[in-house]
Amino acid sequence: MKINHLNGGQQLAVHYYTVAITLFVAQIIFGLLSGMQYLVPDLLLGILDFNVTRTVHINAMIVWLLYGFIGAVYWLLEEESETDIVGLMLGKIAFWVLTVAIVIVVVVFLVVQSGPGDDFTRWFVNEGREYIEAPRWADIGIVICLLVFFYNVAATFSKGKWSGISGVLTLDLVALAGLYLAGMFYTPNISVDQYWWWWVIHLWVEATWEVLVGCLMAWGLMKVLKVDRKIVTTWLYIEVALMFGSGILGLGHHYFWIGTPEYWLTIGGFFSALEPIPLVAMVVHAVYDAGARHMKGNNNPALAWLIAHAFGNFFGAGVWGFMHTLPQINLYTHGTQWSASHGHLAFFGAYATIIIAMIYIAIPYIRGQEGIGSNLPDGGWKWKWSLALLNLGVVGMTMALLISGYEQSFIERAVGGSTWFGYFAAQIHPWFVQGMEWRMVFGVVTAAGIVLLVWDLLTIGQRQSNNTKTQSESQPQAQSQSTS
């Protein structure tokens, strides 16, 4: 793929997007394996046990979303700051260092898998804490690469021009990087461990990541629908106020059962119940803007994925989160397939969707096209079908897991008294097993969607023959677009 015609930030973005999509594929492959292990428990037993496949499944997700975010920010950086990126070479070095580090981490997860209970294991093999299993050396590497990214963002905006979006974005990145440090220490005390662990997990995915995608959404709506900057900026501030206003203390909904005082039941329940409000605001904002412009944008797949993001974020993070956030219900649902159901719809709806939208925004520039309208030679069936299959697949998995979760919270928790016997009584119940089977079916639907998505991203807007010539011919056009 020739990308010399793109600006510096955009070139970096293409690098990050490429790895992001690769890891997205890995996430789905290992997700399929994990799902199969529920149905065929001795599948790969002793070779790739569930804890390995599941760890790779969720870590590939976290990392590809991070790569997607970094890519998206680099993509908009020069255009938004109206100047050249300050540290292009530094950014490229950081990209390769980070990518090599991640490859090593994944290989160690797959090959070494575990180690003795000593500090060497935590530093070089596996930290064994969900979502942040990456060993400590990699944590430090990640922080350094994120600092390089942050420097590039902050310094480029400082050199060029600040805006509402870039201001929120930059401050949010400070918080995002700082919070990661809360997960980088050892304590024998599991309550204290989980207290700070949630600072990383919750304050990432339910606060700083949400604000980050708010920035991307604001920029994306301006880009795709030509929405007025003043309007998206005002909305962004409203969303930040509502998001941090509810989400920071909403952290309390993870402090119900880990040893923390009882007052967290009230605080966590109340503020986390407010967390859907900013997500409603985002839906209103996106749908209103799209409607006001009669759904006419310059990039149909990107617009479709932005709308998918607005609804996916609201339902996945908002509704599915709210359903089990109150302590009176969470007592029975905490640590059951409810969490898996919520996790699937929320991570996809809130984050995967907008990154896919941002990649589609980039595609016409990469391929030297005006945009992606309805005049595609093949009618755009690939992007439409991948959109449909991915959304159907994830919604189907979410519903299937929810049914298993309901069954589990009744049979294991309420009736079975949460003992191991109660746990397995729920796991072998036909309702649970059926849920797992349907999850697998929809997992395959999701996988079909990703195959089409990758195919589409590689080919959309590309002339069938003599590809090199087309790209070089369209070079001046692309440049004029990127600076407009």
């Binding site: 804890n51 209970g117 064994g128 299993e133 461990d193 203390l249 040893g259 898996a340």
Partner: protein
């Protein structure tokens, strides 16, 4: 143009609101954290000292709080040995490092957090699946050291893989589990049946 926009819809109003709300909420979180951390430090009422592994631990319904709470009883030594505070912390810490190094959270939940492929370990020490208190330690050691030979499937076919845990490591993990079962988790898990005291 600015005159046409009411104050409540203006960019600057919401910018200031966003900053103040974020700052305020963060300060409240910091204050609550300063209050919470001492309450969950080992040796506090809610999170007992590591030497609690020398004691009997129960999980009984408390009428006043209307939930099950851990009850620390008389001396009930683990592996017939009395640990002083320092030794107990070292053992529990070793146990926790093993659970991290073997990625137990990749299948199990601890305090309800982790994965959902295997049972929650919050009150694993008190689980009636270990037959009875006199038989518990031996059964736990045997299971951890060879979970395939001593499989506990409950009709599920879901075997725990052999993680090559030595006897010494198994004991450390059990100490960690015993200590964890003494944490006051506000009644989680609910309606839990505790292991029989006698065989």
């Amino acid at each position: 143009m600015n005159n046409e926009i009411p104050w409540w819809a203006s960019e600057t109003f919401w910018k200031k609101t966003a900053i103040w709300v974020t700052g305020f909420m963060f300060v409240v979180l910091v204050i609550l954290t300063l209050d919470t951390i001492p309450q969950i430090t080992a040796g506090s009422e809610r999170v007992p000292a590591y030497s609690v592994i020398n004691k009997h631990i129960g999980y009984e319904f408390n009428d006043e709080r209307n939930m099950q709470v851990p009850v620390i009883g008389d001396e009930a030594l683990l592996f017939g040995k009395k640990f002083n505070e320092e030794e107990a912390e070292a053992l529990v810490s070793h146990g926790k490092k093993i659970t991290q190094g073997r990625n137990c959270m990749g299948c199990h939940t601890l305090l309800g957090n982790g994965s959902y492929f295997a049972p929650d370990l919050t009150k694993a020490w008190l689980d009636p699946g270990w037959s009875s208190e006199p038989e518990r330690e031996a059964l736990m050691i045997a299971f951890l050291m060879d979970p395939i030979e001593n499989a506990r499937l409950f009709g599920s076919g879901r075997v725990m893989p052999n993680l090559h845990i030595s006897e010494e490591e198994a004991k450390a993990v059990i100490a960690f589990l015993k200590w964890m079962s003494s944490i006051d988790t506000n009644g989680f898990p609910y309606n839990f049946t505790v292991i029989d005291k006698e065989s």
